[in-house]
Every structure is written in structure tokens, then in C-alpha cells.
Amino acid sequence: MDSTITLTVDGERRELTVDTRTTLLDALRDRLGVYAPKKGCDHGQCGSCTVLMEDRRVLACLSLAVAHDGARVTTAAGLGDGDELHPVAGAFLDEDAFQCGYCTPGQICSAVGMLSEVASGWLSHVTEDPEGPVEATDAEIRERMSGNLCRCGAYPHIVAAIRRAAP
């Protein structure tokens, strides 16, 4: 069964027809040709498909496109300001926080979402003082970024990049 929906992707309004089974990830990649979100597992196990919806990080492979009619989606391709890289993307470049680059757009979207979660005081498993302000320490970054696998093993550089980009 097909449905027609609209999505605003990286600032651009797009109308598309999807199978009701189509995931948001396949809608972006196979229907709209937006390939910044990657497919690593299609099962919510790797984080490669991470995009932002209203500043929250979302696994596009676990979201059905029809359930997000009208949503605003930001991918790694739309994070920056024109030619200007988003500070997190810039820090990934500076720290060489990637190798093959396949997990990278997901890592960067996840990092942006994660930093705003920290700024909003969301707790994590490693937060020491639930009462105090939450800070983007290395331990917090590692914990909160563990939904994004990197088989190239760029984790130490990913942590350094996020630390550098953290406000």
C-alpha cells in the first residue's frame, strides 16, 4: 500500500510516495536520493542512519516514513551553514575522527543531538551527580555515543572531536 507524504529534508520540502512499510531511512535513500544517512544494519544496532528530527537524534532505519508525514529531518549534509561546516563536523575533520567515513554522518548527527541532550541536563548511566549540572566529560561522551558503532575504530578521535566541539 502506498501513501504520499511530505518531509522537509535539510531545509527542502519534498513530497514523495512511499510503501507503508518503507522506513524513513529507505525513504531518504531510495526515494529521495538523500544518501548522507547510511545503512549499516537496518535494525537499530549500529547508529549509521542517525538523523536529527527537531534536534533529537533518531534512528531512521527504525522509523516508518508514513509515521513522520510533515516532519523536519536534518542529515549530516544539512547541518552546516552553506559552505561553512557545522562545528562538530569541523572537529571531526580536524581530529581525523573517521577513516572509511561510513559511520561518520551518523556519528556527527548523534554528537550534535547528544550535546544538546547534555545541555538540557539529561542524565546517563555514567552521570555521577544526578542533581548537579551535566557536563560533556570523556566518560559521558563515550557512554552517550555508544549507539554509534565505528568498525574503523575511530573512537578515541571521535571523543577528542566531540570534546573539542562541546560548548
Binding site: 529507505d26 549530516a76 561546516l85 575533520l93 581525523d96 577513516q99 572509511c100 556527527i108 574503523c152
Partner: protein, 696 residues
């Protein structure tokens, strides 16, 4: 030698050329090349480990709107060469392992293709199967040779006699499980088949466009000139993309059935566990005979490992024991079990990774048995020449790596005895291991240089960047060789139309392709002088290196680990690992550091997490996805540091450089296991180091 005269690009920490495209997600990987209305093929995999397909019923699948074709053996048998069982896709009904391609569906959308694939009914005649090592009912055999072409067995001196006479003896068996490459980008291809004349274009996620072209030409019986393979960016491979696999043949069969249409194939993560190779599980018995002062007299390394009945793969797990340490008597053997399992293949440092886990754990056991510091034990067994070939080393700097590492790591502060340091709930220990990897150069690469009108040079070679930094490193090498800035070099790689390149494997890329680029630059200067005209063009191949006959060429390293083991739960944490490597000249310190630390992280993952668990009843991997087969996540990894010696290997190639893609994983698991022993007094000889090993 290059780098002394040029623009100073070699050795500079240049940012990745394709970095901006990668951090914005706009670098196109194989699946991401756009075609109007592409079709999608979804394979149907066997659900029995051994037998024959009796019949396939595709009627329900064909009844689904949007299905364009179904592929079964009766449809396509006889259309591809069947000698190599891996590529004999749908050529007969024979089933060699669970997860083999037995049918496929092509449809308008991925959803329809996938649904239709579930509607295909396959009926089997089932045979008995054997999937476990060691096999109960199947003979082990000695392969003709092991991967890399080395001999299966070697012997020098009477190892048994020397063992019997030795004062200190180690006789232990180590096991490594099946491990899966799991690059983050699944293996993907897009095929377009044109008729009249027949032509195939394949966008593929591969470590070698020319390897794919050559293999497919053979399998399809098609002239290589009619095949073009394109692969500008590759989302990791670690060996699994070093050869085409069955799915490449399938996507071509699908495209051939629907000429003119682009057909896309993206393997699912689960399908990768049976179709793209894995590191076979090994059982390794190591015997060492030594004197009380630690000097080794005899070393025996016997390997038993999994291969597939469909196609032989012989991991060279024992070769490291032929050259690492002195011993006047020595024996190494490899025995295979040809099982009803998927075909194993290269995974990062095939041979060295599992082999050095066993050898370096055994060395640690020997150190304790002799009452020696593990570093001192290794220093006492340093061979002056390669024990295997008798040749001098082009540069053996293991001792320096061990000493420098010990100093940086703070080795001398460790308690001498195991179980000597407890911090709250945690036992704390440190461990060390050596690393080694051959300095390989593959023949047959060629580079071309053309001077453009704007004064820049186009440098072309069909090389691959699988995250290794090839785009950047070859640009740096070309800049220095041409005596211009890197901004005056335009590199082209990843297309079989470009001059031939060897596969990105065996850490050989930088040496093989880099040497070809240097040779092409020399030819360019010779032919066109100092003032070449636009359009000037030269080509050259990787030169032969006569010094290969005169020197044994290896990279070495030391790996140090700090490990904490929870006294109550057995949880193992690795707050810190350090590697010091000798790898010749480093072309780009920024990307080299990433490769080395990345290899160490994969080694940590091998030590703590990775194990493909096979159900002996059905022959499948029970944990065949990224939830069940855990690879190290961010929170599993602590401080990871890599350093290297300031070194140039004058014999290895014109660059004095060796690749660093693999040595980072070698020895890491042993260093961690040795540290876990130092922490707890519990010796784990079977990977991975799961918590249960430290309890009870």
C-alpha cells in the same frame, strides 16, 4: 630517495582530501550512485547446511505486483563458470553451507523484493553435515600451501629431541573463534548490463576494482575490456572486500536478465555472515622448550583450523612462529578441516592476528615459567637474521619498540607477581606482546601521469581507499615525486578504466601503488624534462625490487595493555593500550595514527567481544548481527595511543615506507589477555575474554 628533495608533502599530517565529503555524508559509496528507477535484487539463502535443492517454487513471489524476475538454478545454470564453487551461483542445486544463495528475486522496490524473497519455497534433499572444529567424522588434511603461498609445514632440527632435553617446557593449546569483518558499509553493488555489444558496468564496494574485473571476466567468460568496475569510496572492508563474492555474481545475473536496467544489491548485515568471508576459528598447540635463562631451544606451532568444503581457505596462523624468535629446532604445521560452512576469507592481518595471539600468550607463560620479565624474555630471543630464510633483516626494530613502549607505558612500576594489585572491586594488571607484519609489495600496478593545461598533474591508478587514506597519501607521494605542491596533483583512483592496481590487502597498498607513482614520476621527468608541455604523459609499473631476495622485510611493534577485571562480575575493562611500531617511513602521520589506533581497537574487540557462535544442529551463526555479534563500541574503549620509530627502510621500496593497516591488530589481544592474567592470575587461552572466564 623520495621525500628528501620534493615539496615536503610526504611526512606531513595532511588532512584527508575526501574528508569534507565524508563529514557531510556526500562521498558516494557503491549503493549511492543514482539511476532512474533502479531495480532491487534480494537473495534467498539456503536453510540447510548440506544437501541439494530439489525444487524451488517461485509462483507466489511472481504473483506479487512489482516483481520483475525470479532467478533459480534451472533459469541460469550453465551461464557462469562453475570451477570455483564460491562464484558458481545458481549453477546447480548443490548446497555446501547454510546461507548459500539458492534463488533470488528482482523487483521495483527493496520492500517488494524482500517480501517476494520470503515467498519463495525451497525444497531440499538434506545430507548429514559437520560444522564444528575439530570435526568428529572428517579427516584433517594438509593444504598444498597456506594463504600468501607459504608452505603448510616447515621443520628445522629435531624439535622433539630438543623439547625433551629442555629445562623449561610450555605445552599449551589456544583457541580463537570465528571472527567477522563487519565493515560498517555492507557489501553493495549496482550492475548495469548492456547488450549489443555486451558490456557490464558494476559499481561495487571493493578493495580492488581490477581484482573484481579480472574475476568476473573469468567467471562470466567475458572479455575484461567489456567490464568496468567503479568504486570511489569504500565503507571499510578489512579484507572481506578483497575479492568479489557470490553476491557480485548474483547482481550480474540479475542485470543480465533485465538488460539496460540498473540493478541494486545491498546485502543485509545478516546475509554478510554467510556470504563475504570471515576469520576461521583455530586450535593452536604451541610447545616451547627453553633453558632457565629463557633462551628458546625448540618451538613447535601446530595449527588446526576451519576451511569450507565449498572452497579452500588456509589461514597462515603458524607463519609468525617461523621468524619471530630464535630456536635451533623448530616445526610449524597447518591442518584444515573442510566443513559444511561458509567460505572463510581474509580478515585484517590474516594469519598474524590469531597466530600471534597464541605465540605471544605462550611467550608470556614462558616468562612466568622462567621467572623473567616478559620483555627481557623477548630480548633474549632476538634473532640476528631471519630464522626462516637466513637473510639479514631490512630493519628489525622489535627491541627498540619494546624498550620505548616500556618507558612510555611505565612498565617498570608493575608488581612482579600476578594478582598483586587490587583497586576497590577491581583487579588491575598490565601485559605486553610483540607485533609483526610482513612488508609486502604486490606486483602488477601501474600509474599514469598527465600534465594538464592549468599546470596541474593528473595521477591515475586503479587503487582503493577503504578508509586507509589512499586518496591523501598517494597525492602526497605524487607531489614529492613531481616536485610540486599537493594542490597541483589531481589523483584518480577506484575505477578499472584507470591503470591496473593490485588489491588493497596485506598492508601492501602504499608500497605497491606508491612505488608505481614514484616510477611514473621519474619516467615523466626523464621523458619530458624540466619544462614539460601540457598533455605530456608517462606511465610506469611498480618496479621489481632485487633486494627482496637479499633481505627479510618485516614491520614490528610492541603492544602494552592495562586491564581491570571486576572481582565479583568478571567484567574486563581496558582503560589503556599503547602500541609502538616500526613501519618504515610514515607517509602521513595523521592517517597512519588513525589506522594504527583503529587496528588496536579492533584487537581490543577481538580480545573482549568477538565470537561467531555456530549452532551445530543447523550450521548457522546464532548471533549473526550487530546486536548479537558485538564489536567494540565507544564505551568499551579507553585511552589508545600509537607511536612509531623515526625510521626509513632503505631496502623495501623507493619510499622507505611500509603500510600500517594491519600491524595494529597484531598482538593486541595477547597483550590484553596477558594483562588479564597479571591482574587475576587466571590464564585465558581461548578468545574472547568474556567475564565467565574469570569467575569460579
Amino acid at each position: 630517495m623520495i621525500g628528501t628533495e620534493g615539496s615536503g608533502a610526504v611526512g606531513a599530517p595532511m588532512e584527508r582530501i575526501e574528508g569534507r565529503a565524508k563529514v557531510t555524508g556526500t562521498a558516494p559509496y557503491a549503493y549511492e550512485h543514482d539511476f532512474p528507477d533502479p531495480l532491487h535484487v534480494h537473495p534467498v539463502l539456503s536453510t540447510v547446511p548440506r544437501g541439494r535443492v530439489r525444487s524451488v517454487d517461485v509462483s507466489a513471489a511472481q504473483g506479487l505486483t512489482g516483481v520483475r524476475a525470479t532467478l533459480t538454478a534451472p533459469d541460469v545454470a550453465g551461464t557462469v563458470g562453475a570451477e570455483d564453487r564460491e562464484f558458481a551461483v545458481l549453477q546447480d542445486g548443490e548446497v555446501f553451507f547454510r546461507g548459500q544463495i539458492v534463488a533470488a528475486v528482482v523487483a521495483d522496490t527493496p520492500e517488494i523484493a524482500r517480501q517476494a524473497a520470503t515467498l519463495v519455497r525451497v525444497d531440499y534433499e538434506v545430507d548429514d553435515h559437520e560444522v564444528e572444529l575439530p570435526p568428529a567424522r572428517r579427516e584433517l588434511y594438509r593444504p598444498e600451501e597456506v594463504n600468501t603461498g607459504a608452505e603448510a609445514d616447515t621443520a628445522r632440527g629435531d624439535a622433539d629431541a630438543v623439547l625433551a632435553d629442555s629445562t623449561v617446557r610450555i605445552d599449551r593449546t589456544y583457541r580463537t573463534p570465528r571472527e567477522y569483518n563487519n565493515p560498517m558499509e555492507p557489501h553493495c553493488s549496482i550492475a548495469v548490463w548492456e547488450t549489443d555489444p555486451e558490456r557490464l558496468v558494476l559499481y561495487d564496494s571493493t578493495q580492488g576494482v581490477h581484482v573484481v574485473r579480472r574475476t568476473l571476466a573469468e567467471v562470466l567468460g567475458l572479455d575484461a575490456e567489456r567490464i568496468r568496475v567503479i568504486s570511489p569510496h569504500v565503507g571499510g572492508g578489512f579484507g572481506s572486500k578483497g575479492s568479489p563474492h557470490a553476491h557480485n555474481v548474483l547482481v550480474v545475473l540479475a542485470a543480465r536478465a533485465l538488460p539496460g536496467r540498473a540493478v541494486k544489491l545491498a546485502l543485509t548485515r545478516r546475509q554478510m555472515f554467510s556470504l563475504v568471508g570471515y576469520r576461521p576459528n583455530t586450535i593452536q598447540r604451541i610447545r616451547i622448550g627453553a633453558e632457565e635463562d629463557g633462551r628458546i631451544g625448540a618451538l613447535v606451532h601446530d595449527v588446526v583450523e576451519t576451511s569450507s568444503l565449498a572452497k579452500e581457505y588456509a589461514e597462515q596462523s603458524g607463519v609468525c612462529s617461523r621468524m619471530m624468535y630464535t630456536a635451533r629446532a623448530r616445526r610449524t604445521t597447518h591442518r584444515l578441516a573442510a566443513l559444511d560452512v561458509p567460505i572463510p576469507f581474509w580478515m585484517r592481518a590474516p594469519g598474524e592476528a590469531p597466530g600471534m595471539f597464541a605465540l605471544e600468550t605462550a611467550m608470556d607463560e614462558l616468562a612466568y615459567a622462567c621467572g623473567l620479565d616478559p620483555i627481557e624474555l623477548r630480548l633474549r630471543n632476538e634473532p640476528g637474521r631471519d630464522p626462516e630464510s637466513g637473510l639479514p633483516w631490512s630493519g628489525r626494530h622489535l627491541a627498540r619498540c619494546l624498550r620505548q613502549g616500556a618507558e612510555r607505558f611505565g612498565w617498570d612500576t608493575r608488581p612482579e607477581l600476578p594478582r598483586g594489585h587490587r583497586d576497590g572491586d577491581w583487579w588491575v594488571g598490565t601485559g605486553v606482546a610483540s607485533a609483526v607484519y610482513p612488508r609486502l609489495t604486490l606486483p602488477g600496478s601501474e600509474a599514469e601521469i598527465v600534465l594538464e593545461r592549468d599546470g596541474s598533474h593528473t595521477v591515475s591508478i586503479g587503487a582503493a581507499d577503504i578508509g586507509t587514506g589512499t586518496w591523501t597519501a598517494l597525492t602526497q607521494i605524487a607531489a614529492d615525486a613531481l616536485g610540486c605542491g599537493p594542490d597541483r596533483v589531481r589523483l584518480r583512483i577506484g575505477d578499472s578504466r584507470l591503470p591496473t592496481a593490485s588489491v588493497a590487502g596485506g598492508s601492501s597498498g602504499i608500497s605497491s601503488w606508491g612505488s608505481a607513482v614514484v616510477a611514473a614520476a621519474r619516467a615523466f621527468r626523464d621523458a619530458h624534462g624540466d619544462r614539460p608541455a601540457p598533455g605530456a604523459r608517462s606511465r610506469a609499473e611498480t618496479p621489481e625490487n632485487p633486494e627482496r631476495e637479499e633481505y627479510a622485510m618485516y614491520s614490528f611493534g610492541s603492544q602494552f595493555a592495562e586491564v581491570r577485571v571486576n572481582a565479583d562480575t568478571g567484567e574486563v575493562r581496558v582503560p589503556r593500550i599503547l602500541g609502538v611500531f616500526s613501519a618504515g617511513r610514515i607517509i602521513n602521520p595523521r592517517t597512519a595514527r588513525s589506522q594504527l589506533t583503529g587496528g588496536m581497537v579492533m584487537g581490543l574487540s577481538m580480545a573482549l567481544h568477538e565470537e561467531g557462535v555456530v549452532d551445530p544442529r543447523f550450521g548457522h551463526v546464532v548471533n549473526g548481527d550487530l546486536a548479537g555479534y558485538h564489536v567494540a563500541a565507544n564505551a568499551d574503549v579507553g585511552r589508545v595511543e600509537a607511536e612509531w620509530l623515526d625510521e626509513v627502510d632503505p631496502h623495501v621500496n623507493a619510499l622507505g615506507a611500509a603500510g600500517v593497516g594491519e600491524i595494529g591488530i597484531v598482538g593486541t589481544a595477547a597483550a590484553i589477555a596477558n594483562a588479564a592474567f597479571h591482574a587475576t592470575g587466571v590464564r585465558v587461552r581461548d578468545l574472547p575474554l568474556t567475564p565467565d572466564r574469570f569467575l569460579g
